[in-house]
């Protein structure tokens, strides 16, 4: 085994170094907080019944949200994969990604515009039938709706890739064997998406588990709070850092268990998008109706909140917004941060996936307990952002800056970049890892035989299959950082002001209208990136 590790050192080393650096950073944050928390007995750092209740509810809602989001997302991806030619499909696919990356509060407001007590649906119903659903969007149902809204679109978007890379020949085979729809799904499609289902669902679970703004705004009552809220309370209100640390460790443990459960020790069937073979026949009529209905219905549900953000934004005084110096400053800061962090995210995700796949392929490194362990460690490092609450991350960086001679600005920059990269990594890896694994499984032997290595292998073997995923990851992480409030907002810094921060400030001082205008600008930026970036990548052919 050692021999094999040595043989693949160039592929293992960069990714492992990054993984280790991330784990080291996480350790450093916990350590410095531990050192700086005063250990007097009076600080009541115990876990109360209320916190146990919070943990239970957090797991419960995350579990429900994940199941619902996975179900809806899968059905939508399946319908979209089978309806591949309708008009506006590209635009719809771009829209599907944008809800995840907008600032959560904006999305919540969009959902409320549509489904709220005074939302569009209730108002139409009231007008037509004199009936209203009332305030169903608050409480547990609200949390679930918002989580499904945010995550189902991500699930659909990522699974669509997987569905599309199922070789069309298999569909032809299914047709000639006269498979029923169920058999076709169970025997052909399900095995192909199984691997991705596992990794995506664990990411979604963690996202719902650590959700903060949604749970607080739509939950409507302290009985629907999450662990993150308890951490916030411990840090901000009680200044009880030992308790916050304990809570953060609980979250870390839960994340570890999840990563363990979802890690793929054995690679599944191999699919990568291959030839442009077209399927010459249509789906059966009834099935077609069903798929069109699903697409139509979810399009409306996904688009309406975005439309409401758009309409709300039009009322803003754009002249005033654009002439505000701080707006321009925060716009450029946000764009700069997003550019740097998205490049780093893509790079890190590729390197980490490249290193990790060595430990998942039998012809590279033989199966053993040690191999599984390394596989786990690497995949855990990619999910570290979901394991460490952002408040703790921000606090940790702040403590670093206090304990060093380097100016705060440097640490603030580093904190923002780190947070943004770490935030994108779980998505990036869950999207990039499975195609990279499959490429290695399929082409390794050919590549080794041809002695195709380094940049050449990358150019001829990986890039053609990866470029659409890479462009998606690039767009996703760019927009994620664009929409991120930033860890530094918690402890303040005058040097770095981002667009979402500007937006929250507007909303915090009666200027809701201009806030809606900034939200509109963010939405347009996000959408245009999701629409144009894949086109740029499509045209980027190697010479």
């Amino acid at each position: 085994m050692i021999k094999n590790i040595w043989r693949f050192r160039l592929s293992i080393l960069p990714g492992s170094v990054i993984s280790l650096a991330i784990l080291f950073l996480a350790f450093g944050i916990f350590y410095i907080l531990f050192l700086n928390s005063n250990h007097d007995a009076s600080s009541s750092a115990f876990i109360t019944n209320r916190i146990i209740g919070l943990i239970k509810f957090t797991i419960f809602q995350a579990f429900l949200s994940t199941i619902l989001a996975m179900l809806i997302g899968t059905v939508l991806a399946w319908s979209l994969a089978h309806q591949s030619t309708f008009r506006g499909r590209d635009f719809l696919v771009a829209l599907l990604s944008s809800s995840l990356v907008l600032p959560t509060l904006i999305v919540v407001f969009g959902i409320i515009s549509v489904l709220g007590q005074n939302g569009w649906i209730n108002r139409v119903l009231l007008y037509l039938f004199d009936y209203s659903f009332g305030s169903f969007v608050y409480g547990l149902s609200g949390i679930l709706i918002a989580h499904v809204y945010l995550n189902a679109s991500f699930v659909a978007r990522s699974l669509l890739h997987v569905f599309e890379s199922i070789p069309k020949e298999r569909y032809k085979l299914a047709k000639s064997l006269n498979f029923s729809v169920f058999n076709r799904f169970w025997l052909i499609e399900f095995p192909a998406i199984k691997l991705s289902l596992k990794s995506i669902s664990s990411t979604v679970f963690l996202l719902c588990f650590t959700s903060f703004a949604i749970v607080l705004t739509l939950g409507g009552s302290p009985s629907y709070n999450t662990l993150e809220v308890a951490i916030y309370e411990a840090v901000k209100l009680d200044f009880n850092i030992p308790l916050a640390l304990k809570l953060a460790l609980i979250q870390l443990l839960i994340t570890m268990v999840l990563v363990f459960l979802s890690a793929n020790f054995q690679a599944a069937a191999t699919n990568i998008k291959t030839s442009g073979t077209k399927i010459p026949w249509n789906e059966p009529k009834k099935l077609q109706y069903f798929q069109v209905f699903i697409i139509f219905f979810s399009t409306i549900l996904f688009i309406l909140p975005l439309i409401s953000i758009f309409i709300d934004g039009l009322g803003a005084d754009f002249k005033r917004i654009i002439s505000d110096e701080i707006f321009i400053k925060s716009l450029f800061t946000s764009l700069a941060i997003a550019t740097v962090s998205s490049i780093l995210s893509v790079l890190f995700a590729l390197l980490i996936s490249d290193a990790r796949r060595n430990f998942n392929i039998n012809h590279r490194i033989k199966k053993s307990k040690f191999r599984n362990l390394i596989n786990l460690v690497i995949s855990f490092s990619g999910n570290i952002y979901l394991a460490i609450p952002s408040l703790i991350l921000g606090l940790g960086f702040f403590m670093f800056s206090l304990n060093s001679q380097i100016p705060l600005l440097f640490w603030a920059m580093l904190a923002v970049l780190c947070a943004n990269v770490l935030m994108s990594l779980p998505f990036a890896i869950s999207i990039l890892y499975s195609p990279m694994l499959k490429i290695a499984q399929r082409y390794d032997k050919l590549a080794f035989a041809l002695n195709l290595r380094g940049s050449k292998r990358w150019l001829y073997c990986e890039w053609p299959y990866m470029k659409s995923s890479i462009s998606y990851v690039f767009a996703l992480s760019f927009c994620l950082s664009l929409g991120d409030l930033g860890v530094i907002a918690l402890f303040g810094s005058n040097e770095i002001t981002t667009l979402p921060w500007y937006l929250y400030q507007l909303m915090g001082s009666y200027q809701t209208k201009d806030g809606a205008g900034v939200a509109l600008i963010l939405l347009v930026l996000t959408l245009s990136i999701f629409i144009f970036l894949p086109k740029v990548f499509k045209n980027a052919r190697h010479r």
Binding site: N36, R50, L105, F109, I112, S113, G116, Q117, N118, G134, S135, Y138, A213, L216, T217, L218, G219, G220, S221, P222, S223, Y232, E233, V235, K236, L237, F239, D324, E325, I326, L395, F398, M399, L402, A489, L490, F491, G492, S493, N494, Y504, Q505, M507, G508, S509, Y510, Q511, T512, G515
Partner: protein, 334 residues
Amino acid sequence: MNKLLKYGFYILFLTTLLPAQTNKPTLVVYAYDSFTASWGPAPKVKKAFEKVCGCNLEFVSTSSAIGALRKIQLEGANTKADILLGLDKSSANIAKKTGLFMQHHIDTSKLDLPISWNDKEFLPYDYGYFAFVYDSDKTKKVPNSFEELIAMPKDFKIIIQDPRSSTPGLGLMLWIKKIYEEKASEYWKKLSPYILTITKGWSEAYGLFLKGEADMVLSYTTSPAYHIIAENKTNYKTADFKEGHYGQIEVSAILKSSQHKKLAKEFLEFTISEAFANIIPTTNWSYPVMKTKNGLPKGFYSLHVPSKMLLIDDETIQKHRKEYLNEWLNSIKK
């Protein structure tokens, strides 16, 4: 590329030198972000104060006043802050307990406040009353007391904030405690069916209210002034509760560790001056602590002014804060 980097570093280096060259002392004030925003009081305060002090005034913004306090606590002896501005009187005792702040020795007899002021460390710079805001075009029947509020029809909904993360939220909790004392828990139980949602901060709650989600939102009696002055809308009003309204008094204090104590005292005196009082109403949307020659802006005179400002004394709050919060949590739970 290398050249570009080099110039970049030069510029970075130069910007760090700039403030040092001016030779004036710099007074650093930590404040919450809506105070330091470009439309908030900070830019005007900076301009007015720098005219008279011969110094640089620098505002460092944090997401909340309590966040600023935590920042100072974490920074310890190395903190750059000379002044902490923006804490609510109700949570000022948390700051006092840290022992980081010094007495201000400023004459407070001329303050124009609904209560008498005798805090030796914290000096008020503006105040307001918590109140429920409603849209008079939409909501016709409005409760005029807490008792009437829990007798409203079942579809009457209010939005409030969480006392753990928001000043108005804390204000309402204390408001109800002040009126109902040991029966507060009972009252919250009766109130909870009327609560549409409890948000983290004021922004979310007020935003939802403006979207028409609820009949009333917890805010300030001065909120309608914004709609009158900045938007020319007179339909937003506050419900007048006959039990009286809980007050919010925002305060500032000087840090013991400050290197510019004299300058810091000058700034605190400035916050109770007429110049400052003229800035506050239309930037922080609250009442100044000084009467001015010009008086308040026009829109402020149409506001409802509560007959009585309710307050619980700081000591009691400090002692029982945790207990009140737990009581609130237990009674509001579904």
